[in-house]
């Protein structure tokens, strides 16, 4: 299965990158606020069962992909045919 992990700075955690990008967007004339910058990790996992695949990717997030002190994560799964 294909998995996409979205890692974001947690709510309330200062995100200076997001602030800097937001201020640049404003300088370009866009009216925006609340820019937050995270990262995307795309994975091919061997598991074919969605429950097993999700559980495995969750373990990856807990152990490596996200730092729970400052980051939250979201997992999206697809069978790869889309």
């Amino acid at each position: 299965m294909k998995a996409t992990v979205l890692v974001r700075p947690k709510q309330g955690i200062l995100d200076p990158q997001g602030q800097a990008v937001e201020s640049s967007l404003r300088q370009l004339g866009f009216s925006v606020e609340g820019a937050r910058i995270g990262r995307v990790v795309d994975l091919d996992v061997q598991a074919t069962d969605p429950t097993a695949a999700r559980a495995e990717v969750e373990r990856m997030c807990e152990q490596l992909l996200a730092n729970p002190l400052i980051e939250s994560y979201e997992i999206e799964l697809s069978d790869g045919t889309a």
């Binding site: 200062l14 200076p16 990158q17 730092n67 002190l69 400052i70």
Partner: protein, 231 residues
Amino acid sequence: MTSPQPRIGIVRFPGACDDRDASWAVAALDAEAVFVWHRQMELPDLDAVVLPGGFSYGDYLRCGALARFAPAMEAITEFANEGGLVLGICNGFQILCEAGLLPGVLRRNRSLTFVCRDVPLVVERSDTPFTTRCQDGQMLTIPVKHGEGNWYADDDLYAELEARRQIVLRYAEPVNGSLNDVAGVVNERGNVLGLMPHPEHAVDSLLGSADGALLLSSLVESARERALAVV
């Protein structure tokens, strides 16, 4: 009989850049520096370990996040859990936080810019193995050079650390946005210290300050005491 030189391991990760300075500094302070390659599964006989600064594994994902899984880190975790002295400088501090050996996390500097300058520090505790040569409240001048030194812990964790006096060094002025100007943190047991400033770059007044030698010679002395205790 002269007292023996303690053996201090300097861990080399791919992307480390301060390993030679750290080695030179501890050797100048009368210790034997022993390089440890990151793929080593076992540590040689050591009285202390230094994780030097740099950009291990290119700082990919998060600083220190990948180095934490290096084979040598498993041995170092065991060494620390047995009470061995471990000092993490800059990237070494980041690795120790990611490995869970020290509390908190180091984030991007608030300014988003790399900070490279001498900074004033206050010694909050002189009763750790890394600060015995200092006085409580002493001011030190030691350089920093980092893009991710903005230490953070949530309110509950920070309150616990304060109550247990685990904050050892603070910046005397804002440097990187670090929570309450924390510059260095020790673990609960007191045998693992991480700090963002680079004491190994400040061991000779020719280079601006020799205050880093106070920290490193404290480590060397503590390591020597341990070496003698074993003999």
